[in-house]
């Protein structure tokens, strides 16, 4: 591992050397590897090996009890022809497109409001954050299936009292059947995910507080009104945070599982309208024991998420403003 032992020891190492030749630097580097060894082992055993193994399994028929049998790209071909697979992709994309932008807009809007020297900001911050403590848990999934119940649910009660046949404004609309109507399932899941928007809001609130007041003052002197200041100062200044929440939001939305599993009893009902991508993956893997097929689904998911992430970074280059950082990025 040690390369040329140059007397000066100054940056003359081969760029592949893992350890520098200088004695002190070398000791430090050895300690570095000792400290990060848990992660290195974890990465090799629980990340790298599984990724490669699932690539292999995706090319086989495998049901755990008998050894995997090589079938080439058969799994991918049958997924291509599988209507439920396409449906699951569509359900997940629809959910992502609806929930992520709405969550961001809501988060920014509320953060901006709270940033207007509202009295008791601390209390608001705490209480708005509270739901996101439990969002995504089984308790919340079951709570919302109760709130969204078409007959006895409170949400439809409000709708009926507002615009129902005998409501305040009698438009005769008694509310949708939410989780039982294929057209309303995804809006219902979106509502559930928006309920936990408090954590995103906190991120924006702290980002807003980091925008230098001098910029607003300068803009005001130049005659910019509030709306102009918001779009020309605030948004560009917090754009890295928007990008961050957007990317993590998309990745998160693509992995939606718990609520759909709990609410639909694991079958993606009604009419596959809640057959999220990972729910179908789960069913193939752990209900039908088609581990090869599920591995193919997992790989497709990885490629999709990877492409989306790269695309988001690439598109954002033009729009995201980064302050120069002497540390050089990350």
């Amino acid at each position: 591992m040690a390369t040329q032992t140059l007397p000066s020891g100054k940056k003359k190492e081969s760029s592949w050397a893992l350890l520098p030749s200088n004695k002190l630097a070398r000791r430090e580097a050895i300690w570095f590897w000792v400290f990060i060894s848990p992660w290195v082992i974890g990465f090799l055993v629980f990340t790298l090996y599984p990724i490669l193994a699932s690539a292999y399994y995706s090319l086989t028929v495998y049901n755990i009890s008998s050894p995997p049998r090589w079938t080439g790209f058969d799994n991918y071909v049958s997924l291509w022809k599988d209507r439920v697979f396409w449906k699951s992709l569509q359900v997940t994309s629809y959910f992502t497109l609806l929930s992520v932008p709405l969550g961001i807009v809501l988060g920014i809007a509320l953060a901006v409001l709270l940033n207007q020297k509202v009295p008791g900001v601390g209390v608001f911050r705490t209480l708005y954050y509270l739901p996101s403590l439990m969002a995504g848990s089984v308790a919340v999934a079951l709570l919302f299936s109760w709130l969204l119940n078409p007959q006895f649910g409170v949400i439809n009660l409000f709708i009926r009292n507002l615009v129902g046949t005998n409501g305040l404004i009698p438009l005769g609309w008694n509310g949708p059947r939410w989780l039982q109507d294929p057209n309303w399932v995804i809006p219902a899941y979106t509502m559930m995910s928006l309920w936990g928007f408090g954590s995103t809001m906190l991120i924006y609130l702290s980002a807003l507080q980091g925008v230098p007041t001098a910029l607003y003052e300068a803009a005001e002197i130049d005659g910019a009104n509030r709306i102009q200041r918001f779009f020309r100062v605030t948004i560009p200044m917090i754009s890295p945070v928007i990008l961050f929440t957007f990317i993590t939001g998309v990745i998160g939305a693509f992995q939606q599982f718990t609520q759909a599993y709990v609410i639909s009893n694991g079958d993606g009902s009604p009419a596959y309208a809640s057959m999220f991508y990972n729910l179908y993956l789960f069913l193939n893997a752990f209900r039908r024991y088609r581990l090869g097929m599920a591995s193919a689904q997992a790989w497709i998911l990885m490629v999709i998420v990877l492409l989306l992430t790269v695309a988001m970074f690439w598109v954002s280059r033009r729009y995201v403003y980064y302050e120069s950082d002497e540390e050089g990025g990350i």
């Binding site: 599984p50 699932s54 980002a207 009893n265 998911l301």
Partner: protein, 297 residues
């Protein structure tokens, strides 16, 4: 000449100031009102959850709904948590693996983050980019081989798959702790090295005690995740004696509207109490954790 022009300008600028102040006040009032209205909407589901948990079965099905139950049915809580649903056991199981996983995760992340934050070595930055890249990786890609691996170890229906992998760090928490460590002055290492300590001693005796707030934030985030995790237990735990609360709750759901919502809500309230208490006790750490993750993202 100059003075007169200033005096002429003064009243109007004063008026401008006053009108601006008034405008700001109006905006503050409107903002506060909207925030309050939002709060009512956001907190309503929780209030409804508690209200339902105290109703009789008949009150639950009543229409229009009963807002406040005629008589609080506190025994719902006893009924929900005992009997077929062994919630005492579920709680014990959940705590057992959550605490194990949290300890492992905090310890390993504290080690790894120290290496990345404060020690110099060739290729360190490239490796750290790899750490960050694993954050973007959907966990589902590694799921099936991991499952096969654990089933070969005969670890299915044990808590090992939920605890052991946590001893090898997790990207997000490593990132958070690294941010914190980087903020500490470099003098600690120099002083320690001069005194003849090695890096491990420096980490253990100096850096760790200094980073207790950050470790608090990380362990709370870790605990909250494992406490509520549904997916891991769903896959790895199969016998009821190993069930955590997330799987226990799911058992309440009966097909065709047969679910006993009053009992289900009572059990749900109980399961969300520990995170809520933890949150109020350690609010500062929470907020710190979230804010660090976002702003430096």
């Amino acid at each position: 000449m100059a003075t007169t022009s200033i005096e002429q300008a003064l009243p109007s600028s004063k008026r401008y100031m006053v009108s601006k102040k008034r405008q700001e006040l109006v905006i503050r009032v409107i903002a506060t009102l909207i925030c309050l209205a939002g709060l009512v909407i956001i907190l309503f589901p929780l209030v409804w959850m508690i209200s339902t948990s105290l109703k009789t079965r008949a009150e639950v099905a009543k229409f229009p709904p009963v807002w406040i139950p005629a008589e609080a049915q506190w025994h719902n809580y006893r009924d929900a948590l005992t009997g077929n649903n062994r919630f005492d056991l579920y709680f014990k199981n959940t705590l057992y693996y959550s605490v194990g996983a949290t300890l492992g995760e905090t310890l390993s992340c504290a080690l790894v983050a120290y290496g990345f934050a404060r020690l110099r070595a060739p290729h360190k930055n490239k490796l750290f980019v790899l750490v960050l890249a694993t954050m973007m990786l959907p966990g589902w890609v590694t799921l099936i081989p991991q499952y096969i691996m654990f089933s070969k170890f005969k670890w299915i229906d044990t808590f090992y798959p939920l605890i052991v992998p946590r001893f090898f760090g997790s990207a997000y928490l490593i990132f958070m702790l690294r941010q914190f460590y980087k903020g500490l002055p470099k003098d600690y290492e120099e002083a320690g090295l001069i005194d003849g300590a090695n890096y491990f001693t420096i980490w253990w005796r100096i850096i760790l005690p200094l980073s207790l707030p950050a470790l608090g934030a990380v362990s709370i985030m870790s605990f909250m995740y494992h406490y509520q995790d549904f997916f891991g237990p769903l896959i790895y735990l199969s016998s009821q004696k190993n069930y955590p609360i997330s799987l226990g709750l799911q058992q309440f759901q009966a097909p065709f509207g047969g679910t006993a919502f009053h009992l289900l809500m009572a059990a749900s309230v109980v399961t969300i109490i520990p995170p809520v208490i933890l949150f109020f006790l350690a609010q500062r750490y929470f907020i710190q954790g979230i804010v660090v993750s976002g702003v430096k993202g």
